[in-house]
């Protein structure tokens, strides 16, 4: 039994440790941070590629973001994706998870013919983890979160492994379904640089706007969002005492014992 389309949603995120916060303007400065494909989405893409390797099908990457994400989508193609779609539109600026999941769902519907949709469990910047179940709800299909492996057991049915507290559960799911993939559950393959060169020179990325997806301006962006950010606050790590203790092991141990006894009181 062969799979049809395996769709992977992909987000480009700045590396969290490189974000700078301006306490005066209370804004986030992403400009100096290195951008990368959201790590969990890489795991999702790897999962999709493995499914295709085993069961056939086409892996299509879908992203909602600004034009500068294009090289990252081409990187996904270099990793092995068959096609890539970028939904880029100024009207989408300011979208929270509600219009984001709607937009991605519409794009997925437009691509059509899908058996499995994969998404990273959460993104390293916003980290809500809400978009994948949201997309499934818009599409009216079942979903499973925190998935670490997927096997197709017969036409139209898959068996997935889901992480739960203290272990895992095995679930059987009817296709089509959406799975959010656990960060680190596999090792994403390194891109094929010959394919990357081809992707950069010849591959044409599909770029869709909200009009292409039949979305109204009230459904997306700030207007379409159900939450809003009032302000941003920096959460500084707590001030530490930084008391240094030196000396021979016996003395150091004595001092530490004293401190610990005091704390345990």
């Amino acid at each position: 039994m062969s799979l049809r389309n395996i769709i992977v949603t992909l987000k480009v995120t700045p590396k969290p440790e490189e974000i700078r916060f301006d306490p005066v303007t209370k804004t986030i400065d992403r400009s100096k941070a290195t951008n990368e494909i959201n790590p969990a989405d890489k795991n999702a893409l790897e999962m999709a590629l493995q499914l295709r390797d085993r069961y056939g099908g086409r892996v299509i990457v879908v992203s909602m973001g600004p034009p500068f994400w294009e090289p990252f989508l081409k990187l996904a193609v270099a990793m092995g994706a068959d096609d890539a779609v970028l939904i880029s539109d100024r009207a989408l600026a300011g979208s929270d998870t509600l219009p984001t999941s709607l937009t991605l769902a519409r794009a997925i519907q437009k691509i059509g013919d899908y058996d499995i949709i994969l998404a990273g469990e959460e993104s390293s910047d916003g980290g809500t983890g809400q978009v994948p179940p949201g997309i499934a709800e818009w599409l009216g299909i079942p979903h499973v979160t925190y998935v670490t492996s997927i096997d197709i057991i017969e036409t139209g049915k898959a068996r997935v492994k889901r992480t739960i507290k203290g272990g895992y559960e095995i679930l059987e799911v009817d296709m089509p379904f959406l799975a959010s993939i656990e960060l680190g559950c596999n090792t994403p393959r390194f891109p094929d640089f010959r394919r990357k060169r081809w992707a950069e020179r010849e591959f044409k990325l599909k770029v869709w706007s909200t009009v292409d997806l039949g979305l109204n301006p009230e459904e997306v962006g700030f207007k379409g969002s159900a939450t809003t950010v009032d302000t941003l606050v920096e959460l500084k790590p707590p001030e530490r005492l930084k008391r240094i203790i030196t000396g021979a092991p016996e003395e150091v141990a004595e001092e530490l014992a004293r401190i610990i006894r005091e704390l345990l009181r």
Partner: protein, 322 residues
């Protein structure tokens, strides 16, 4: 009078502790405004335990029973709770940000075209009735103050371990509701559950953490932990090389500690690690390298060889416990 609904997660008759945290917080918010807190409890045989949720803050509890609900499964849970929300139109809906809580909330928020705030570390209701939450992002260094602006119920998932459950009130009134299982043939079916022993380090009050400086030998770390009645954690590299399981490594992709005391041994203090100790009250580090980055994140930093210091420290503390 406004209604705050709190999804109380349970598994085989045992409440998820973080759900009780949310219940208490909801009650505190409710008491300040004269609102009502309703626990929503789904499970196999839960009517008997539903009332006890009142102690943690629920005024009343809606209990739904069915064998299929024994532990969380997306379809029946979403459909049953969705049906109840449709019928009764609560103002707010909260859940703990466990995997299942976020799974459920993510789907429900779209079903009702409403706002959902993710793993808030603080929560309140404004004058105009809108839900205000503090949402951490970007690895936890930046917090966004977020407000729900449209849709009902207003939703949020709450970060684990931020609030404390308090047993202050009394038995809650329980309403048992007939489970409407639809579809009868669910598209997701559970086949097997495998559970191993589980230590929730994020709840530990005292932790001793071993890093690569131990060379993978956690004997002294475990002994110290035993003496001071602490749990044992590791830095990620030790888990990567198979010395310790994945559930106990500390860091941005692992456990975030909320302990009163953490003794950190042989860990250099890379950024990924230190984000996991930011909420620890007192941090004591032991490291051979006086310039290890972890100095900046420690209250007490002992310079020296852990293999020399720990045995002596253990001897001195033996019998002290506390």
């Amino acid at each position: 009078m406004k209604d705050i609904w709190v999804f109380v997660e349970q598994d085989s008759g045992v409440f998820e502790e973080s759900s009780l945290e949310v219940l208490t917080k909801a009650r505190e918010i409710a008491d300040a405004r004269g609102y009502r807190v309703t626990g929503v409890l789904l499970g196999r045989d839960v009517r008997r335990i539903a009332g006890s949720l009142g102690w943690y803050g629920a005024h009343r509890v809606i209990a739904v029973e069915h064998p299929i609900l024994e532990s969380y499964l997306s379809e029946p849970y979403t459909n049953i709770i969705g049906g109840l929300i449709e019928e009764r139109d609560p103002d707010y809906f909260l859940a703990s940000a466990t995997r299942n809580g976020r799974d459920l909330a993510g789907r429900l928020a779209v079903r009702f075209r409403t706002g959902l705030q993710a793993h808030v570390i603080n929560l309140d209701i404004a004058e105009d009735g809108s839900l205000i939450g503090h949402v951490p992002g970007f690895g936890g260094n930046i917090v966004a103050v977020v407000r729900n602006v449209k849709g009902r119920p207003q939703m949020a998932t709450v970060a684990l371990g931020v609030f404390r459950p308090k047993k202050l009130w009394g038995e809650a009134e329980v309403e048992v509701v007939e489970a409407k299982i639809d579809p009868l043939e669910p598209k997701v079916r559970r086949v097997e559950v495998v559970r191993k022993g589980y230590v929730d380090l994020s709840k530990s009050k005292r932790v001793v953490v071993g890093g690569m400086g131990t060379g993978g030998d956690l004997t002294l770390v475990r002994e110290l932990a035993r003496i001071i009645k602490a749990d044992v954690g590791v830095s990620r590299p030790l888990s990567d090389i198979g010395v310790a399981p994945k559930d106990i490594y500390i860091g941005s992709t692992g456990v975030s500690l909320n302990a009163d005391l953490a003794v950190i041994v042989g860990v250099s203090g890379a950024p990924h690690f230190v984000s996991g100790i930011r909420n620890v009250k007192t941090v004591i580090s032991i490291n051979k390298d006086p310039e290890a980055p972890i100095v900046e994140y420690s209250d007490y930093f002992a310079v020296g060889d852990l293999f020399e210091i720990l045995p002596r420290l253990i001897e001195k503390l033996r019998g002290e416990a506390g």
